[in-house]
Amino acid sequence: MMTPANEAALAEIVAGAQTALRIQGGGTRAIGAPSDATVLSTSALSGVTLYEPGALTIVAGAGTPIAEIEATLAAEGQRLAFEPMDHRGLLGTDGVPTIGGAVAANVSGPRRIQAGACRDSLLGVRFVDGAGRVLKNGGRVMKNVTGYDLVKLMGGSWGTLGVLSEVSLKVQAVSEAVGCVLLHGLDDQQAVKAMSAALGSPSDVSGAAHAPVGVDGTPVTMIRIEGLEASVAYRVEKLTALLADFGAEVVVERDAEKVAAGWSWVRDVALFQGGTGDVWRLSVKPTDGPGVVAAIKQSQPEAQVLYDWGGGLIWVQVSEGSDVRAAVGQGHATLIRAAEATRARVPVFHPEPAALANLSARLRKKFDPRGILNPGLMG
């Protein structure tokens, strides 16, 4: 493993590389086809370099642990809006999740439906491209349309376009109060309808998830509200009235710790932790979700699911080696947890139509002419 101490050393390594490199942040995820390429770790590019709470911006080295960023922000009553998932429980790995890893994979948690994805919080990047050039795009201000937005392109490019060295992010204030409306006993279709109703109301919902098999073994649908105490109290009441029509047993949870624990459970897909079988992550139109799940269950009756993002994000656990993609219409599916043999056989990322795949391949060639950065990972 190579662990450059700074950006210049990183550039030197990439420029001088003779063979493929596997880019790694904290090493918490083994994703993609197995690779024996040399590991290039950004973990030493660590530390918060600028933090302006009054401007809601933070700048940090790509290798900075997310925990360090969260602690820095928490000291000022702020947080990352996109609520990044911690993959370690689901994947049974160790390592330290880094901010660069979250950005490279566009990791976004339950608040994505309200506050946007990781890429929506991303204001600027510095990175080393496949030729070893140190490049930058964006900056540290919230509104910036100066030139092409390569910031978004780098977010979610999984290290295939460049190795991130520094990222700047928009942050948000921690909410003063939080509440969760829980609906017990809804089937998948009713649950998505209930979540759509909540998300289509003026209540500014910050999380909407549904577990057909919750912690107690029965279905639970969760709607989260965050804000000032007066707002949360008011909106919880409005939502309770709005959702009464669905006929479910409604429980309101106002204990902040319990609400946080419930949403960590959703965010980190705790339902499948320690389980056996492969785990897929599907992004679909929310109302398509129950149909997609029904189609998967036709061939995989034992499949387990967890809906987040109002039904648009579906985590599916199926028996080892199965491919659920045929069930996904519009949208995409990523294989998150599977044995090496499966990952070698089944494309981890959703295959793109030929023309789009060709366009992406030509883009990669510009950023990485020698094809040494995570080759073959995304296609």
Binding site: V141, M142, N144, T146, G147, P202, G227, Y234, G331
Partner: protein, 479 residues
């Protein structure tokens, strides 16, 4: 403003190009008469004009494909045009170019409240997107001040913002999918009703690419339910520094207003003379707006007013009715018109870190004296997106040039303090040559390499965004 020399070969074959375009479009969708093409000689950056070779107004994705295929075969540059409201010259033509206007593509294709999106043809205006869902209580959040006229196509090209993006984000944060035609006439469907890209985030790079990567014909946009209500509060301060500190303190307090607008004294005086909104005569004025139910609004305003009081405001005006709210916004909304009454003006759009606000305003004041040109500041303070309005006299020889030099100095100042050249208007031709102040040559090179992939012949809006000298080898190679 330098533009590339028109390609004489293209000029020479105008008749053939027009004939070919007429073959693929209805007769009234091809405009080639010199008197009529003049309607497309400029956008809202009116200082620069040049009629195009011809203009076309396709009505569908298929017609856009047909136009682009002809132009690609004939090596004719194409300048996409939304509603022509660009302040940066984003749709300014060259004499050898075809203007591709989307004005006839205004249909709503799909409205889906359960999944909270609307799919429209991109010639539809920003305000009429909200208009299509308003009766059902929904709206489309990005609200550039030209929203009555500007088209979604242009919003996507420039990644437009607006007064309320502090809470709701800009276009890119509300764009879920596009149908895009490349210069070669290939149609791409990217994104859609689901969230986030499966592969590379091409949607992210297309948004804000100023019509240089493809022509976006249809868009899937996120819609939200309207808040129950909104209410502004007006605050006057006796210095820019104090007002800037108040903005920072509000943001730090954890309350996220939907808008924080800032006006300085020259602007306050001009709008008072023009609109008579009853603003206090002070150094700096803030309009802070919050949303929610009545009780939520009151809870938020209570906190905001408490913060404001710690800064000894010379005025604190709460609204108690819709009329009073409208009066608070009246001056802000007429600020550009008010400045226009005094003289010609140039509107800048740099963004700065909020912490640099007092310093930057002070420096702009000093530069104003150096150049002998008045400047008023009115802007979105919450996100640091400034809009200095420099007054000049277009009829006075040399004034425009002096104004442009002053503007360039202000934008360099924005970059120097950690900000950028443009927050929501785009680069266009206006800030093209300042790109070297923000980006190193290799940073521009990688952006141009992206254009190489989407438009290898550099025919789409070729003379924009990048300094002409930087893009010349690519444009020449393509010719």
């Amino acid at each position: 403003m330098d533009m590339p020399t028109p390609n004489p070969e293209v000029l020479a074959k105008k008749a053939r190009i027009v004939a070919r375009l007429q073959e693929v479009l209805p007769a009234d969708a091809v405009i080639s008469d010199e008197a009529e093409t003049r309607a497309y000689e400029c956008d809202a950056l009116t200082a620069y004009r040049c009629p195009p070779l011809a203009a076309v107004l396709p009505a569908s994705t298929e017609e856009v494909v047909a136009v682009l295929k002809v132009c690609h075969e004939e090596d004719v540059p194409v300048v996409p045009r939304g509603a022509g409201t660009s302040l940066a010259g984003g749709s300014m033509p060259t004499a050898d170019s075809i203007i591709l206007g989307v004005a006839r593509m205004t249909e709503v294709l799909e409205t889906d409240y359960e999944n909270r999106f609307i799919r429209v043809q991109t010639g539809r205006t920003n305000l009429s997107v909200s208009g299509a869902v308003e009766e059902d209580g929904f709206f489309y959040a990005p609200d550039p001040s030209s929203q009555l006229a500007c088209a979604i196509a242009g919003n996507i090209a420039m990644n437009s913002g607006g007064a309320h993006c502090l809470k709701y984000g800009v276009t890119t944060n509300n764009l879920m999918g596009v149908t895009m035609v490349t210069m070669e006439g290939e149609v791409f469907e990217i994104g859609g009703a689901h969230l986030d890209a499966g592969g590379l985030d091409l949607l992210g790079v297309i948004c804000g690419s100023e019509g240089q990567l493809g022509v976006v014909t249809e868009a899937t946009l996120r819609i939200l339910h309207k808040p129950e209500g909104a209410r502004p509060v007006l605050m006057g301060f006796d210095s820019n520094e104090v007002a800037g500190q108040c903005v920072s303190d509000i943001i730090k307090s954890g309350i996220l207003p939907v808008a924080i607008e800032f006006m300085d004294r020259p602007c306050i005086r001009a709008t008072e003379a023009f609109a008579g909104a009853g603003y206090p005569d002070c150094e700096a004025l803030l309009i802070v707006e919050v949303e929610g139910s009545d009780q939520e609004i009151e809870a938020q305003l209570e906190r905001i007013l408490a913060i404001a009081r710690t800064h000894n405001p010379v005025e604190l005006r709460e609204s108690t009715s819709a009329e009073e709210s409208a009066r608070i916004w009246l001056g802000r909304k007429s600020a550009f018109g008010a400045m226009g009454q005094i003289n010609d003006y140039m509107c800048l759009d740099g963004t700065i870190p909020v912490s640099q606000l007092p310093y930057v305003l002070r420096r702009i004041g000093e530069l104003s004296k150096d150049y002998g040109l008045d400047v008023g500041n009115v802007f979105h303070a919450g996100d640091g997106n400034m809009h200095p309005l420099i007054l000049f006299d277009a009829n006075k020889p040399g004034d425009l040039e002096r104004c442009e030099a002053f503007g360039a100095d202000i934008l360099r100042l924005c970059v120097e303090v950690g900000g950028c050249l443009t927050g929501e208007h785009g680069v266009g031709i206006e800030k093209r040559d300042l790109m070297v102040d923000q980006y190193a040559p290799e940073d521009l090179d990688i952006q141009m390499a992206v254009k190489d992939v989407f438009d290898p012949k550099w025919l789409l809006n070729p003379a924009k965004v990048f300094p002409l000298a930087a893009s010349e080898p690519r444009r020449m190679a393509a010719e």
